[in-house]
């Protein structure tokens, strides 16, 4: 292994060996899947009516969920990183809970909230809003599981940036809203972008909560992961082809997130 740009790299060989095993552990299943792809039929399989419907639905709902994550996640991260109130630590743990919760549990929780007989669902029902079995339900499920990703990455970035720039901005006469708009958000923009990309990826991969909460109907609630799960029953070739499609999309997203995650260079430290 070549050390980074000629500088000293004190990584012991056995660490490299373990890292290689770890990498193989992640990469081999992907390779195994690629080997199973029926390349002759690949294009027809992924362009079939149900595949295209599932892909488009996935993209549409994931984008909507990402937008919701930004709209609500940025304020949540700001409140968690910049304010101090009783019970904040507990609130943070709870807000981040969907990260560790099995998605199906999330789905059940959503069902009891937005379902026909749920906490809010009953009220919505009286207003003539039906969430169950609708695309809205998919977006809700995706937002639920994806929101913590944005909150977590943004809160960390906000803490790293610190409040010094914001304090200076305030003493220059800028109101809190102006400081937010012209200083805080531009400074953490890379984290907002990478957080949004991660949220999008999580939303795209959402399966358990959607299955439990939204149902599965082509073009309405059957997203790509649900389509894969269903096709696997009868048509493994389609399932594998769609899986590969999802993997490719995921790789593109992870690359994007890596690119946008680079922080600003700081001003201080340079001397004449």
């Amino acid at each position: 292994m070549r050390p980074v740009s000629g500088s000293y790299s004190g990584v012991p060989r056995w660490v490299i060996a373990l890292a290689a095993v770890g990498a193989a552990f992640v990469l081999l299943p992907l390779a195994a899947m690629v080997l199973r792809v029926n390349w002759a039929e690949f294009v027809p399989l992924v362009t079939s009516e149900s595949s295209v419907a599932a892909l488009l639905l996935s993209l549409r709902t994931s984008l909507a969920a990402t937008a919701l994550c930004v709209v609500f996640g940025v304020p949540m991260a700001l409140v968690l990183a910049r304010t101090d109130f009783w019970g904040q630590k507990i609130l943070r743990s709870l807000v981040l809970l969907p990260l560790v919760l099995p998605p199906v549990v999330g789905g059940i929780a959503l069902l009891y909230t937005f379902g026909r007989r749920g906490l809010l669902g009953q009220t919505f029902g009286l207003l003539g809003i039906e969430i169950a079995f609708s695309t809205t339900a998919v977006v809700i499920a995706q937002t639920f599981v994806a929101l913590p990703f944005l909150v977590l990455s943004l809160e960390g970035a906000l803490r790293t940036v610190g409040t010094r720039y914001e304090a200076i901005g305030a003493t220059l006469g800028a109101s809190p809203t102006t400081v937010l708009r012209r200083i805080t958000l531009p400074l953490v923009l890379p984290a907002v972008l990478s957080g949004a990309v991660l949220s999008f990826a999580r939303a795209l991969g959402e399966f358990g909560a959607t299955l439990t909460f939204a149902g599965s109907l082509q073009g309405t609630t059957r997203t790509l992961p649900l389509e894969i799960y269903l096709q696997r029953e009868t048509d493994p070739d389609t399932a594998v082809a769609l899986s590969l499609l999802l993997v490719v999309v995921a790789i593109v997203i992870v690359t994007l997130a890596h690119r946008t995650g680079a922080p600003f260079r700081r001003t201080t430290g340079a001397d004449s």
Partner: protein, 267 residues
């Protein structure tokens, strides 16, 4: 190794519960022919049974009584969708017995020449309408399911319960417009028990298993799609005698009793 399945019955005479079960077994002609030479040998070995998810309750009960009757044996159970199980077995999963919820998936197994003998049908299942308690949408018969006001959840045509649904609907000349086509019976049932859906099409056994959580409504058209459950011991089993004994036990009288109580029909 000779087939020693009847010896199980001999050993079972020790147990009180076994007495009853043995009585049933001997009364059932479907039970395999006793092999006198093996009657003295006790069954000994561990087996793993791959069974369709809908068999969870019945097979759990039957495995326990089988073990009680044959103290030298243990039965490990693995429940999942039949197609999942077949895939796993073909990929080399260590199974000794396979019980499928349909003949299609069993055929996949026999096509790969993995079965020790011919599969034996041991139960049937038909569709039933499941509605939430109180039947809020007032469903009476199969035709009611086609109403646009009814939120109907069914299995996707790709899975066995869904193809049965399609068969029944076609026979009844009814166009169903479900709000969701789920990948499994469990998911359909979940939507009904939670009250999200007004009605769902599941198997009779699922309605029975769900207890008070749902109400079942029989309908005549269900006879158009009868699902047959076959079971077979696997060729590569390390405890072939125990595996075959278990298959015999399921297809025998003890199995039939438990299965029928759960709502399964006779093959």
């Amino acid at each position: 190794m000779p087939r020693t399945s009847p010896s199980g019955r001999v050993v079972a005479l020790i147990g009180l519960a076994a007495l009853v079960l043995t009585g049933c077994a001997t009364a059932t002609p479907a039970a395999s022919t006793p092999t006198p030479s093996a009657s003295a040998a006790a069954l000994d070995g561990d087996i793993t049974v791959f069974a369709a998810a809908s068999l969870k309750a019945t097979f759990t009960e039957l495995a326990a009584s089988f073990e009680a009757e044959n103290p030298g044996t243990t039965v490990a159970l693995n429940f999942a969708g039949s197609s999942d199980l077949v895939t796993q077995i073909i990929e080399g999963a260590p199974a000794d017995v396979f019980a499928s919820a349909d003949t299609k998936n069993m055929t996949k197994l026999t096509d790969e020449s993995l079965a020790a003998g011919d599969p034996v049908d041991f139960a049937t299942n038909v569709l039933e309408i499941a509605v939430p308690p109180g039947n809020p949408a007032g469903i009476v018969d199969f035709a009611d399911l086609a109403s646009p006001d009814v939120k109907l959840v069914v299995c996707a045509p790709e899975v066995p319960c869904g193809s049965a649904t399609a068969t029944v609907a076609a026979a009844a000349d009814l166009t169903l417009t479900p709000v969701s086509e789920e990948s499994s019976v469990t998911d359909v049932l979940g939507k009904v028990t939670s009250g999200e859906a007004d009605a769902g099409l599941v198997y009779v056994t699922d309605v029975t298993a769900a207890g008070d959580a749902v109400e079942g409504i029989d309908f005549a058209e269900s006879a158009e799609a009868v699902n047959t459950y076959p079971i077979v011991a696997l060729k590569d089993s390390a405890s072939a005698d125990v595996a075959q004994a278990f298959v015999d036990y399921i297809t025998g009288g003890a199995g039939a009793d438990v299965l029928q109580t759960a709502g399964f029909g006779a093959p």
